[in-house]
């Protein structure tokens, strides 16, 4: 049915998954930094975090991808000669994709993390201090585990949006499953078949993610009460 393209598309699916997971790792780091900046009492740090979140969330992913990918390539090749490097530098699409997606979704996650940190009752941190814990210890032992509980619904949403958005990276040449499907569609003139197959793979990916994250949510909600209706 897939004219022997099945295995190439599965290879692409693996790349899609790797790209999504790696980008999410970058996004989590940037999201935590962004949230920390936005909650910081230092004015200019808060403003910096706020600007990052607002500007990135106000521009379409596709425009940012094209900007970072083509603009970044341009920038590197304008700067490199100044540093005495004369050959044309081709940026690896995977690395560029990871940083682009991580940068974009870091902004979305900073919003999720900020809300989650703010949802933790103040008394929790105060109680930690009263026990004589140091600042970082309060942060990692008291705040982070509770923050995760509040952040999971927003995180789930962001992960699903990110997974689907990775399809856009195929437009700048990364050979993910969307790219492979396009090549197969062009070669066989059966675009519907291949795009439908890829749609099904994305659906499997999102469904499995939903189940896994629901399990995680249950695990982190242990000990919290839900009102019975």
């Amino acid at each position: 049915m897939l004219h022997g393209y099945g295995s190439t598309i599965l290879d692409g699916a693996w790349l899609t998954l790797t790209l999504a997971l790696t980008s999410m790792a970058v996004a989590i780091v940037l999201g935590l930094l962004g949230a920390a900046f936005r909650l910081s009492p230092i004015k200019w740090l808060a403003l910096l975090g706020e600007t990052y979140a607002t500007v990135i969330r106000g521009i379409p992913d596709l425009v940012l991808i094209l900007l970072i990918f083509y603009g970044g390539q341009d920038l590197v090749n304008r700067v490199a000669p100044l540093l005495g490097h004369d050959e044309y530098i081709d940026i690896n699409p995977f690395v560029a994709g990871v940083f682009t997606m991580g940068f974009i979704f870091g902004a979305y996650l900073s919003e999720t993390f900020r809300g989650a940190f703010m949802a933790i009752p103040k008394g929790q941190a105060e109680a930690g201090m009263a026990y004589g814990m140091s600042g970082p210890r309060v942060f990692f032992r008291i705040l982070v585990p509770q923050m995760i509980r509040f952040a999971i619904p927003g995180f789930t949403n962001n992960w699903l949006v990110l997974t689907k958005a990775t399809a856009l990276i195929s437009l700048v040449g990364l050979q993910d499953m969307m790219f492979k499907a396009k090549s197969a569609a062009d070669a066989t003139r059966e675009p519907f078949t291949f795009y439908l197959a890829v749609a099904a793979l994305y659906l499997v990916l999102t469904s499995v993610s939903l189940l896994a994250l629901r399990f995680l949510e249950k695990r982190y909600s242990v000990g919290s009460k839900a009102a019975e209706l």
Binding site: V55, L67, Y70, L196
Partner: protein, 232 residues
Amino acid sequence: MMFDYNVILDSLPLYFGGVLVTLKILLIALAFGLALAVPLALMRVSRSPWVNAPAWLYTYVIRGTPMLVQLFLIYYGLAQFEAVRESVLWPYLSNATFCACLAFAINTSAYSAEILAGSLKATPPGEIEAARAMGMSRATLYRRILLPSALRRALPQYSNEVIMMLHTTSLASIVTLIDITGAARTVNAQYYLPFEAFLTAGAFYLMLTFILVRLFKYAERRWLAYLAPRRG
């Protein structure tokens, strides 16, 4: 590195044309999407699995797959079938604007239906009981009480969906349309100035996003005034 203002100034008409195309696609997609979302949301709150399940499946599949795949399925995919190519719909289905609007409308209908269904389910029971006590039929109850109330309460979430949709319309540039992103791609292809071209596009989207946020703030103040905290 210098920012080339002149090229951008010269191509501003192209960008303004792009803004019009973006807004046109956005409005068409939102109008048809919302019209489709209302019956879907009513199906989603039904207790009968025969009514509920098809709507659930529709929103689940649409929300679980990337917009790009949906757009490609409609624009490139449908041409695979001879029956489609020979049907009366072919002049429409081979048109990029039509396909983009269709794909975006289908996409937003699924998200809007879920938002609206959530809002319907959150209707205060007192409102429904009062309507029943007044002797309203089911149809009247939906028309007069449930839908107006749910549509209003869905406004804050729907504003997010509209902004997501504005950003989604940038995909129209992939199927050859010259919207804001399409304008930027044209400028980049002509002058090879990716920074200038895409930053300008970003600025346009940012402006449109702020305008939309403002408009929805006004709409909420007008239609959700009764939910605002009382002053003084």
